[in-house]
């Protein structure tokens, strides 16, 4: 049956297999590289210590406000995923450029989004592995009690991650053009801290900050995760946050793919791909 399949179908499945292999190989290579160069210490410092100490600061600021401490625990976990999306891919591309291997990466005969997906997955897995430590710190040390609605939590997380992947692609593309993806991420991150609802719910922001915050996906995602993870909110309860988040999850990956393709062509035409 397979032998008699049309050539186009066969080449499509071959391309898909190649993309999957490239995705898995990139993911594996990045995970091994991260572990070998940084090891457990790197994981403990970046994915465990930073969020826990930030939570400790927030717990002191929010002393006597258990509702805000609970929100902050979820918010900082969401912030870890946001940072993973905005830092990892750009940072890996910076590394490739520094080592002089960026051009080879772009010349590899596999889809861009397979190895970009592998980069993203390496960051995502590291972040996901660190999140339980923050949540456990919230539960054990700060006394936060979780009451999750699992279907709503799963849907919120899925939409949030897809939207973040799209944003990550856009920023990676811009970082490629600027030749400094990491610095771009450092530039963007404090804006996310201010407007992303990761320290406080965005409805508590003053008007002049709340309006721009509502134009970004971060606050909707964090609010949906907090509602479903802390207060057993169902999907219908979370509709005001999930609907805009779904819109972002639909649009941002398309924008990201288009932006990456466009900027890549631009950079190659200018001959700047491996300029440092």
């Amino acid at each position: 049956m397979l032998r008699s399949a049309p050539a186009s179908s066969s080449s499509t499945s071959g391309a898909a297999r190649l993309a999957l292999q490239a995705f898995l190989a990139t993911w594996r290579a990045m995970a091994v590289q991260q572990f070998r160069t940084g090891g457990l210490l790197s994981f403990a410092l970046m994915s465990v210590a930073i969020p826990i100490f930030t939570l400790a600061i927030l717990a002191l600021v929010y002393r006597g406000r258990p509702d805000l401490i609970g929100y902050a625990v979820v918010g900082q976990s969401a912030f870890a995923f946001i940072n993973s999306a905005i830092y990892f891919v750009g940072q890996f591309l910076d590394f490739e450029r520094r080592r002089g291997t960026l051009v080879m990466l772009f010349l590899a005969p596999c889809p861009r989004f397979s190895w970009l997906g592998g980069f993203t997955m390496a960051g995502l897995v590291q972040t996901a592995a660190g999140t339980p430590f923050s949540l456990a710190f919230g539960y054990i040390v700060l006394g936060v009690r979780f009451d999750p609605n699992y279907p709503a939590l799963a849907l919120s997380l899925a939409l949030f991650l897809v939207a973040l992947w799209g944003i990550g692609l856009v920023l990676s593309a811009v970082g490629l053009a600027l030749r400094r993806g990491n610095w771009l991420a450092v530039l963007v991150s404090p804006f996310v801290g201010l407007l992303g609802g990761v320290y406080y719910p965005i409805e508590r922001l003053p008007d002049w900050l709340r309006y721009p915050a509502r134009a970004l996906p971060f606050g909707y995602g964090t609010q949906a995760l907090a509602g479903s993870g802390l207060h057993h909110a169902s999907v219908p309860d979370l509709a005001p946050d999930l609907l805009p988040l779904a819109g972002f999850a639909l649009v941002l990956p398309l924008v990201g793919i288009a932006a990456f393709g466009w900027i890549e062509r631009l950079v190659r035409r200018r001959g700047e791909l491996d300029l440092y």
């Binding site: 940084g38 970046m46 930073i50 930030t54 400790a56 002393r63 404090p190 406080y200």
Partner: protein
Amino acid sequence: MSAVPLEFRGGLAYHWATLVATVRMHLEVDTLYPTNVLQQALFPVLSYVTWRVTYTVSGRSTVGGVGPSAFLLVGMVGLLTWRLTVLGSGYSIEDERSEGTIGALFLTPVSRAVIILGHGLASFAGMLPTYAVIVIVGFLIGARLDVTDPLAVALALLSIVVASLSIGFALAGLFILSRRGNLVANSLQSPIYFLAGFIVPRTELPEWLRPLSNILPAGPAVDALRASTLSGATLGGISHTLGLAFGTSALWALIGYLSLRRVEYAAKRSGQLELY
């Protein structure tokens, strides 16, 4: 005088020339990319606004006996100085490694300490406009100063710079040894923000953490600056705190001097100096 080659000048002139060259080189590299200039300038300002909003959301109208805007203004001066000098000085040697120039640097007869000091001072000098912006933002959002002894303020400011430089110097060896200076430097930020009282008063820390907080010179230095700028404290009133800040700074600088020599020797002996 300037026609005399560097290596034939006297000891002090030789160090001075090295220092000036390092500062100039650091400033030139730092201002090469607009993304870098922007991210360095915006990070502290956005952090200030974010933490100010966090305090507003918490409902606290006073922090450490003063308004949150004033409290955080001094904290942000400490945070910025810490961030700049630790990243600028401690990370500088590690940066030479990633640029592939560490071997050449360690073959030259220049003082490592002068190189690190040069990078730290350049980071500090390059961000002077940002300090001004933070102060302006502080006044706009309600921070008010109460200064009675300008000499106390000057010495407290100096103690923050000295404290940060000494820690950066002490960490330089660790950054070389870890081969991941950027990661270690970034990971240390949240714990230091927590322990040094940049964002919450050190008096609100748990009792068992206070001794640990005291051995970090940035903590007493920020306390001294807060007392002299926000509560009208005189030099006599902050002498004990200043003594602690300068004393612990000297200790960290000594640790840095000894460890850097040891680490350089170990890295050369094990052939790891240029490994990345």
